[in-house]
């Protein structure tokens, strides 16, 4: 019967493949009218110990604290002291100054690659402040703000970027793929999303040992398509592991808009619903909302109430990296037209509004940060830049493959040293 019907399929509707397409392309004016942006303060704040289901309305909402009037609103206001807010402001501005200088350094040929996080500074800086220093960070490659929030020395970061002889990672890794155990920051992989199940595992280990450390992972919205995202959340849900999954939805994954990762159908926060864990969707350009949400998730995890998935809704203002030219796939104006503004300006304006900051202070801070970054860059440059000979000795290439070097690597190491002496007999 069924196959008979299929043969007569002529009058059945023809299937068609849907391929998502962003609303605007180069030459178009950016259109964000489709975004449903609720006013700040309108979102309820459930107790940290609530059932996961109590957060589900928030998966399709947007937690916001800073309003158009530059004042704080509603129950998510984290009530940070002016000092705490100034520190977050300063570190976000430092991230931006650092990004600008390192981008230029790449253009000047001092290194092979760089990648900015412009417009997304709050999602790393403010979120890190909501964690304890002991909590382990499992970053993606766009979380330089986590290192800066944990006051990791800029010179160390730049030594890594320049792949020079002072680079603690021995020049082995692509620039920005840091590792910084000293500040509980996991080694960054170039392969997307691998850090997510690792974060779950770290959190499970902490729970196995009866410790009180959490794991917090960051991932781009594009990377949530990887299978690792699924198993990370499944394990976290099954074992109620004290993990925070921060999805930075900056709208773009290289040239692919968020629709290619499924955003036309559901929010990224709403993924939490299927796993039965808590989920929050947050204005990622509102440093206070970011802090409040991360703090909520940290308090929840720390009191054994399990994992939380947070979507930080933000915008990638710059190209993907120094290898990318975004003007070929999106309108040039999009970043300027992004309706949630700039995270640094918004926090600055709030501090102005409450009389805790001034234009003069801000300008002085910017000048100071610029000088700080310049000095760090000069200090790192004294240790060498990429491709100018001041790198780690060749034998270091063979170290750390194993704890102890097997015979074949010893032989190969001798070969490498001999080749160098042929190339540069001194």
């Amino acid at each position: 019967m069924a196959s008979e019907a299929a043969k007569e399929g002529a009058n059945r509707p023809r299937l068609s493949l849907h391929v998502p397409e962003p609303r605007s392309r180069p030459g178009d004016t950016a259109d964000f009218s489709y975004l449903d942006l609720p006013p700040a303060g309108a979102q309820p704040r459930p107790d940290e110990a609530c059932s996961a289901a109590a957060t589900y309305p928030l998966c399709n909402d947007l937690i916001r604290v800073l309003g158009e009037d530059n004042r704080t609103h509603g129950p998510w206001n984290p009530q940070l002291s002016p000092d705490a807010m100034r520190q977050i402001l300063r570190q976000m501005a430092l991230v931006r100054a650092f990004d600008n200088r390192m981008y230029r350094a790449q253009r000047q040929g001092k290194t092979s690659f760089y990648l900015k996080c412009t417009g997304e500074e709050a999602t790393s800086v403010a979120a890190t402040h909501a964690l304890d220093f002991e909590d382990m960070i499992f970053p993606s490659y766009r979380q330089q703000g986590c290192l800066i929030a944990r006051e990791y020395p800029l010179v160390e970061m730049i030594n890594q970027i320049f792949s020079n002889r002072a680079d603690r990672l021995m020049g082995r890794q692509l620039p920005i793929l840091y590792s910084a155990r000293a500040v509980n920051f996991f080694t960054i992989s170039g392969n997307l999303a691998t850090q997510l199940p690792q974060a779950t595992g770290f959190a499970m280990a902490s729970a196995i040992r009866g410790d009180c450390k959490l794991a917090a992972a960051w991932v781009g919205e594009g990377s949530t398509a990887e299978g690792d995202f699924h198993c990370a959340l499944t394990f976290a849900a099954v074992y109620n592991a004290p993990t925070i999954f921060n999805v930075v939805n900056n709208q773009w994954a290289i040239s692919s808009f968020s629709g290619i990762a499924g955003a036309e159908r559901a929010t990224f926060a709403a993924r939490a619903i299927g796993y039965g864990i808590a989920g929050l969707r947050v204005d990622g350009n509102d440093a206070l909302a970011v802090y409040a949400a991360e703090r909520w998730a940290a308090d929840r995890a720390r009191s054994n109430h399990g994992p939380t998935l947070i979507e930080f809704f933000t915008y990638r203002v710059e190209g993907h990296s120094t290898s990318d030219d975004p003007s070929v796939y999106r309108p040039a104006q999009e970043g300027k037209d992004w309706p949630l503004g700039d995270p640094i300006e918004r926090l600055r304006d709030h501090l102005f509004e409450i009389g805790e900051w001034s234009i003069e202070a801000h300008e002085a801070m910017d000048a100071e940060l610029d000088a700080q970054v310049r000095a760090a860059s000069r200090a790192a440059e004294a240790n060498g830049i990429l491709g100018h000979g001041l790198h780690q000795p060749d034998r270091t290439m063979f170290e750390d493959v194993f704890e102890t070097m097997p015979w074949h690597l010893k032989e190969q190491s001798e070969q490498a040293v001999r080749e160098r002496s042929v190339k540069w007999p001194d």
Binding site: S112, L174, S223, I254, M397, H408, Q412, E419, R420
Partner: protein
Amino acid sequence: MAGLDTAPAAEAESEVPERELTMIEAINDALDVMLARDPDVVLLGEDIGYFGGVFRCTAGLQEKHGKTRVFDTPISENGIIGVAVGMGAYGLRPVPEIQFADYIYPGLDQIVSEAARLRYRSAAEYIAPMTIRSPFGGGIFGGQTHSQSPEAIFTHICGLKTVVPSTPYDAKGLLIAAIEDNDPVIFFEPKRIYNGPFDGYYDRPTKSWKGQPGAMVPEGHYTVPLGKARIARAGEALTVLAYGTMVHVAAGVAQEKGVDAEIIDLRTLLPLDIETVEKSVQKTGKCLIVHEATRTSGFGAELSALVTERCFYHLEAPVERVTGFDTPYPHSLEWSYFPGPIRVGEAMDRLLNE
């Protein structure tokens, strides 16, 4: 078609207009030809649609052939290969792109346990006629996750073919042959020579494909058959087995040293053109194997075993292997890692002095 000793397939007659293309343009051309010729061909991968791929290999193809033939995928290599298996089961001929060979591992189960074995386990009820394209190899300061050469992982899997071109002409002809092949093909594109040949001297000005052997590419459809090697340089003193970028490095060293090497560009690693290999080694009595991939259990180990097994009584010296070191691809020491002219030259000297 200077420098090409293999006669092109019958269709590419001498009247067919040719033009000089880069390897990227030749790959783009092959995809364009196949999209136009065969409605079953579909292209899928990260950033390959509107944008045209991070290396521009699919530039313009979505606009020309439509969004349901050439489209962006979610960032999931497992998903990309898995859906390609399903599309093949329906009867399509998918050409998935994996943005860098270093990112193919999340898709490994779908390749190894599924695509490679579909034909066998279903007694040919189902096949996986897909060609997985992916740029591989180093030399662009990409660090360990943009530089790997994982071809030996795939030649070790029964049911997969593995192909590596070394010129624009071959890239187009091999890619068309791969797409038309009914078995799954891993098509690794040596990204260092996308825009020009590379002799291993990273500190000399880069060359473009302009005026280089193998850069003239006929328009339209032609194939370079899978499983056929190319003698890139005929010679008597020793045989060099290479593929991809290393064909150019070996040729450069032979020229510089004035060594009368016979350089065989394998083109297809599996199935291997064993006849051409045997004939050459039996003639020269000496064999140097060169690849950029790590040494231990690399494809060179298989080649060395084959040559030793099949040409033992012709060999006048032990088979030599020149490879990348057995470490992850380092960033700053990239050129110490790369099997460049010194390493290749020393091995040639050793063989010639035997």
